[in-house]
Amino acid sequence: MSKLFRPWRDHSFQLLALALTIAAFALSAVIFLRAELEQRFSISTAEALGGDLVLASSRTPEPEQLAKIGGFNISQIIDFSTVLVHKDELLLVSARAVDSAYPLYGQIQLAKNRFANEYSQRHGPAPGHVWVADQVIDRLNINVGATLTVGNKPLKISAIIRQLPDQNAGFYSMNPRIVLNSSDLEATGVMGPGTRIRQQSMVAGNSEPIKNLGLELNKKLRPDQSLETVDDAALRSMGPLRQLSLWANLAVLLISLLCGAAIYLATSQRVRRRAKLAGLLRSFGASRYQVITRLLGWEFLAVLPAVIIGSTLGAAIIMTTMDSDSANIGTGYLSAASPLEWLTALLAPLLLWLAFALPRLSTLVRVPAIEVLRQRQQSSLLSTNIELLAALSAPVLLAGLLTDSLGELGKVLGLIAALGVLLPALLWPLIKGLDLLSTRLPLAARLAIRRLSRRPALTLPLLVSLTLAMTVLTLAGQTGSQLLNDWRTRLPSKAPNHFVLNLFERDMPAFEQWLEQHDAIAQPLYPVVRGRLSRINGVPVKEAITKEKKSGHRHLNRDLILTEASVLPASNIINSGQWHGENTLNLKQKSAAHSASHSVSVEQEIADNLGLKLGDKLEFVTSRGMLHATISSLREVDWNSFEPNFYFIFASGEFAAQDITWITSFWLPEGDGARLAELLHELPHITLLDVKTLLDKAQEIIAQASRASALLGALLMFSALLVLAAGLLGGQQQRGRDNALLRALGGKQQLIKGILWIEFLCLSGSAALGATAISLLALYPLNERLFQQGMSISVWQALPLALALFVTLCGLLASRRALQQPALSLLRSQGE
């Protein structure tokens, strides 16, 4: 038992154990955080989709398809349109018939009456009941508790729907929604031959079986069927969760790298102190294997407690930092991490330690014993570099195992790691050159430069580590702050919480007055025309689109919401082509030439789905005839922004001859719901969508993402500081001996301090230069992966220079003991 504690008496082992504890803490925190995010991601996506897999069709699935999905947790729903009649009022609604399993994920937000507070429900309406949207109450002048006839079936209105979990904020159907029990469907009599329905079989299950099910079903889909899984869902493609997921993966890569560097430095120190023992063992006849196991064996057991403590702390910090939403997560945080991830969290720091310990330890068995005993082993520059490269490959491989983003983020990591090693190697000849020229410099500078240039085994790893640490701190600061800024911009405190559709020109004065009266803040108004895509390049759509694309796309057989605009909406980015409004200097001067260009900008995903490209000529059928336009640009749209977004945006003036309504979104302060009723009373034909629940959810996601991002940033900084500490503490013994000798030979304290200042300034200054170069170069790949708006050069690029000063001061602080080492120690016993 005492053998387990023996290594702890040594300072270098304590430093190594600290490095491993922090490595375990940081890696496990990131692993658990990622698992947590992945689960929330998947659950959010599954909620939005309605299941882990959704098979949608215009009629009942085939028996064999039903058999395949029968082994899973399923819910069957049918969406259809119907007209409600109540007294003298008619209203077209989107109806949904749900079974008892609905919803598979999430909860339905309901209210007892028009202006009551919301409550959650985990199942659909009972037979004989119907839930309706607010607009149904307003339009039909009906209340909760009243009877509403759907088709032939009278149903009791028992609640008002505020939000369905799988109801996204798109505008597929702007009709008010009702939900009834599927057992009442037949009695309604609305299902008949030719009735247009959308049947969805929603499936819930674990990822691997779902994936296999998807592959099976995909082989034999009917033309009217489509299959969507959480991996396909649009929610993944953009938004804070995607950015955070990538950032978390990058953090894993960088933390692996930094912790590896810290372990390398601490292990080097330890190896130096064990060199004599290694030489002695070999002089006694021990084999290389025996030397390694004797040196490594007990230490491996001795560091285990440090790793376990670190991993446990990492898991604990995630539990206390991330909020729990038991309705979504289920049994709590730890269930988010799989047993494999637990094991990975425990093994990852040990793997890092082995990766960095073994190359260093191998020097003790590679170098002849006599050289070790005579302390003559001197690493060549080449062998030091090879060792470093071999050691640095370990975190890259480890990160590849821990994340699935090595392909996506590998460029960034590769750049940082490669430059982190290459730049110091490039700086090395400069340092050597400075040594050659140093004869003209003052004594303190000469001695400082000699210390750096004559000890590659000490200087190079420290230079690499400092460069990497400074780079990571700079990138963490800049990326983290830009992410937070991005998210704050995406969802400002007064993000629109309502959408209004079907406004007419004549409604504007009343609408604007209402907005002003209630301190509401509105987004730009967009003119809207409903149209159906009929031809592409003169060819009818049914012929122009391939069978595979046609079957997967629901936009071909329905009216699309078209708009025109001269200013590119803020939530859109042009991917290719040119925005038709860019060259319009004066919005009021719509030249005939410009209108005649008949340009349209198309959303990228729909363009990809339909095989559309720049220059294609499109024809739309509207209530007033045809609309023709040529695709002038393709756009990426942030569908999660709370602004009106469109697949097709025409150039201004295209709708001159069309029937236009207007759409916009606005922010309404908290208050009485009667204000909305007032607006509806004033403008009864408008459609009003309350997206407050969605907004609250998005804000909650962003709040959690911000917390997680801050935590990641803190972990990165912690790891970087660990590297700094390991680097600065290592080499202190050598400095102490050097300083003692200088004092014995007559050197004054001032000279010794001067040497230390210059030594650390040169080291940290070189690292700062390298870090600035690397962080500038890394901007491009980071920008490409994480940000849409771009990340530009900022004040963060000056951080390495500030860090250089900080490192110098820390170095001097760490060297206090070395500074005060008495010259008398030279007369005492050597070494330890």
Partner: protein, 250 residues
């Protein structure tokens, strides 16, 4: 008539006490002697007798708990750390048992180091000269790791004598060497010392080596057990003149 030379080193009733785990520990007590320029003193005694402690005090690497040490007329032991370092650099030199060469400086740079610290002019030329004298002129660009123990100690001797010290401290200079190399080094030490006219304080456990010194101070448990100072011999004027010329060239 031979001139009487004032003592270079005056040790006045010094003691050294430290706090140990079981209370105060007396390392040295009642140490009292003087040493003049050109004289040699061997300090002997068993392990733990306080030899190294005494050497440290004499060299100003440590301060006594009691008493005073005067070096070249100045109250050495009461100076500050920096003042002692400065004084030490100007007056003293060391030869250590473990050589203590700087591993990442070549032989020439090692010998130049104390000269640079003292701000001497043309340190490289002086260093080269001394390396020639110790027979290592052909290895000035070599690093200590490539030298044998004897060669390293010769470099240490060159480093010590290059600054023309008035007082040379040698702490078991042959302790890390074999007999043949040790004899060679010690012969060189005494030869160079005789030519330089510096006083020599030699810590050794070797009675034969001790017998080569003029004076002998034997310690036991921190106290002087035996002290044998040879009669004061007049120093030849030529030696004095040579010494003065070397230390104060004008």
């Amino acid at each position: 008539m031979p001139q009487q030379v004032a003592p270079l080193l005056e040790v006045g009733n010094i003691a050294k006490r430290v706090q140990g785990p079981e209370g105060e520990l007396t390392l040295l007590e009642d140490i009292d002697f003087t040493l003049s320029a050109g004289e040699s003193l061997a300090i002997t005694g068993p392990s733990g007798s306080g030899k190294t402690t005494l050497l440290g005090l004499l060299a100003g690497l440590d301060t006594p708990s009691q008493g005073e040490i005067r070096l070249n007329g100045s109250a050495f032991s009461s100076l500050s750390e920096d003042q002692r370092a400065s004084h030490r650099g100007a007056t003293c030199a060391f030869v250590f048992q473990e050589f203590h060469l700087v591993a990442d400086m070549n032989v020439l740079e090692n010998v130049m180091l104390p000269l640079e610290l003292a701000g001497r002019a043309k340190p490289a030329a002086i260093a080269k000269d001394w390396l020639e004298r110790v027979g290592l002129g052909h290895r000035i660009r070599h690093f200590p790791a490539t030298l044998s123990g004897g060669e390293q100690q010769r470099v240490a001797l060159a480093r010590a004598f290059a600054v023309q010290p008035r007082l040379l401290f040698a702490d078991e200079p042959t302790g890390s060497l074999d007999y043949a190399n040790g004899k060679r080094v010690i012969d060189l030490l005494f030869e160079l010392n005789q030519h330089s006219g510096a006083a020599l304080v030699l810590v050794t456990h070797d009675p034969q080596l001790a017998s080569r010194c003029q004076h002998h101070l034997e310690l036991h448990e921190g106290k002087i057990m035996n002290i044998a100072f040879a009669e004061e011999k007049p120093i030849e004027e030529s030696v004095i003149e040579k010494f003065i010329h070397q230390t104060h060239p004008s």
